[in-house]
Symmetry: C2
Subunit: 126 residues, 2 copies
DNA sequence: ATATACCTTGAAGTTTACTCTAAGTCAATA
DNA sequence: TATTGACTTAGAGTAAACTTCAAGGTATAT
């Protein structure tokens, strides 16, 4: 079992964010100690790893919450989760390709600016 | 010269968003017709292309506004803009690599779920 | 000429994802 | 035992990027 502080260190999320995610049903049902403090299990840590994967590939918290709900429903939602993840994967790939295309344009601009700068400094030194 | 409607079609931005970007100094100084309607020049269109590149690679509107301000100041800001774009480029590449790593984990999960689903359906058919 | 559709402005409202505050509880240490 | 620091909650506040609204002006087709 991990304290909220330990989970912060492992996930990079703040305690505020962890409590927020709990409220938003991304990871509800975190158990409490006798004193009412959060205790995260290894299973919770795995769920958090998944949550971070989905979040860092651009899924909204709402969609993550729905995915985690399906996960809690067990094996009968395996197909649905599989399809959902596959669709997400394709959307992310498309997004990355789009980003690459825009980045290529930025790279062109950098090259163009570099050349223009060279000319500009040459003129100035004359 | 293009009307706001034409610019929407070409850029995929809404008229609301174009007016918002003007207010936020991403592209101020758009000229007006006699009746007060916006008229976008070819130069404005080029600026908008740059704005979209930066936005779609994840730059904040605030940072874009600063970049566009430098652009309006002319050639003496070439070096600064060059460096700024280069830094942005590297940040985007790092972000894309990070995304790729998270996506690889998602792919692993999809494979794992697919296998688990196969087993599950096999058991059910028995 | 008038109806309709589109444009203008400033300002208020929305969504997402936090982030902070206040008031109080719990745990560990001097 | 007292104090320090971390934890709890509900709820308010924030920042970014739109998005909508209200009130009015403009352009054009009938």
């Amino acid at each position: 079992m991990y304290t909220i502080h330990e989970v912060c260190e492992r996930t990079g999320l703040t305690a505020h964010t962890l409590r927020y995610y709990e409220k938003e049903k991304l990871l509800p049902n975190v158990s409490r100690s006798a004193g009412g403090f959060r205790q995260y299990s290894d299973e919770d840590m795995e769920s958090l790893a998944m949550i971070c994967c989905l979040k860092n590939t651009g899924m909204s918290l709402q969609d993550i919450a729905r995915f985690m709900e399906l996960a809690r429903e067990g094996d009968q939602t395996l197909r649905e989760r599989c399809e959902l993840l596959e669709r997400h994967r394709e959307a992310v790939l498309a997004r990355m390709e789009e980003m690459q295309r825009y980045l290529d344009k930025v790279t062109c601009k950098v090259d163009y600016f570099t050349e223009k700068l060279r000319e500009f400094e040459e003129n100035r030194s004359k």
